[in-house]
């Protein structure tokens, strides 16, 4: 009985000590430079142009990388860290613009431009198709006139009929 009490008397403080030490920030796993840079490359240097925080040599970005390290050590995910920086410093610090507010335009404009481009192309192609459409003899004479192999106005017919020749010339002028 005494032995058991002594055994438990030691066990409980040992468990408490182990849990406390394990939970201490000193023993928390420190993120590597690669882990920090993986997050930092998604943030823009706030004081330079076109450089991400991972590649930037300025003092500001060094501070930001240290902060990213702190947040990673606290167990924050990449998205949580990016959200923190966006909330703290503004959306413009994100390399990939968020899909909200004014930044929606950044995502929507290329799609709108593409749709307009396709519509414009379709319109142009329709115009070309009309212009290149063969003039068939039945357009003028119905089934009575002779047809060429391709259905186009045959040389013989156009030569024989002065009226058709004029029509042909008019159509050429229009195109």
């Amino acid at each position: 009985m005494n032995k058991k009490r002594r055994y438990f008397g030691w066990l409980v403080p040992c468990i408490i000590l182990t849990v406390t030490v394990a939970a201490s920030p000193v023993f928390a796993q420190q993120p590597t430079a690669d882990e920090i840079n993986a997050v930092a490359k998604n943030l823009s240097c706030p004081t330079c142009t076109g450089i991400n925080v991972a590649d930037c040599p300025t003092e500001t970005c060094a501070q930001w990388r240290a902060k990213i390290g702190e947040l990673l050590a606290e167990g924050k995910s990449e998205q949580e860290i990016l959200d923190y920086f966006a909330a703290r410093y503004g959306d413009h610090v994100l390399q990939v613009p968020p899909k909200r507010g004014f930044f929606v335009l950044v995502w929507a404009l290329p799609v709108i431009a593409l749709l307009f481009g396709l519509a414009w192309l379709a319109y142009l192609m329709r115009g070309w198709a009309i212009r290149r459409a063969p003039v068939t003899v039945e357009s003028v004479h119905g089934d009575q006139a002779p047809r060429g192999v391709s259905g186009q106005l045959s040389d013989d017919a156009s030569l024989e009929d002065g009226y058709l020749k004029r029509v042909q010339q008019d159509l050429e002028k229009l195109s």
Binding site: Q63, G90, H92, F116, V135, L171, L174
Partner: protein
Amino acid sequence: MNLTEQVQTETTSPRRRTVWLLVALGLVLAFVAVLAFGLRPKTSTVLQGRPAPDFELTAFNGEFNGQRFSLQDMRGQIVVLNFWASWCVECDKEMPLLEQAWNDYRDQGVWLIGVDYLDIDSEGLAYLDRFGTTYPNGPDIGSRIFQDYQCTGVPETFFIDREGMIQHVQIGPLTQPQLYGLLDRLLAAETEG
């Protein structure tokens, strides 16, 4: 399609094409206008003589730690709003002057408010400690104050009179004669008024 229809299509298409061209041109012009508006040069000096945008800032240093400051609440006081950052080398020059001015003018109804721009809080606080800064300073959450005041960088300082009008915008570090001269002028204007 018979010939009549074809000829009609041919004769009406140029008109339709013109309409389409005008629509496309209009869209391109609208896009360029939006871009030009977004990229127009902005400078804080345009705010001189205009009402100061309202702001809210929660101080993070010294005796003011956790206290909320808004321009609206400070109406009737002279406010010197200074933008700085711990990574800003030029800010070093004016930090001692601002603290000195705070000690010399706080009893005359002058508030000095420091806005820590794009900074890590711990770095900002260490910077304030380095200069023994005691006037209220706080982080610019979301860089909103910086944007509202159309700042171009740090340091920048706005001198706001008791009516909430921006009387002077200083881009770059202040000198002591300049700082004291501006504060004296603002206080004198009040006495004359």
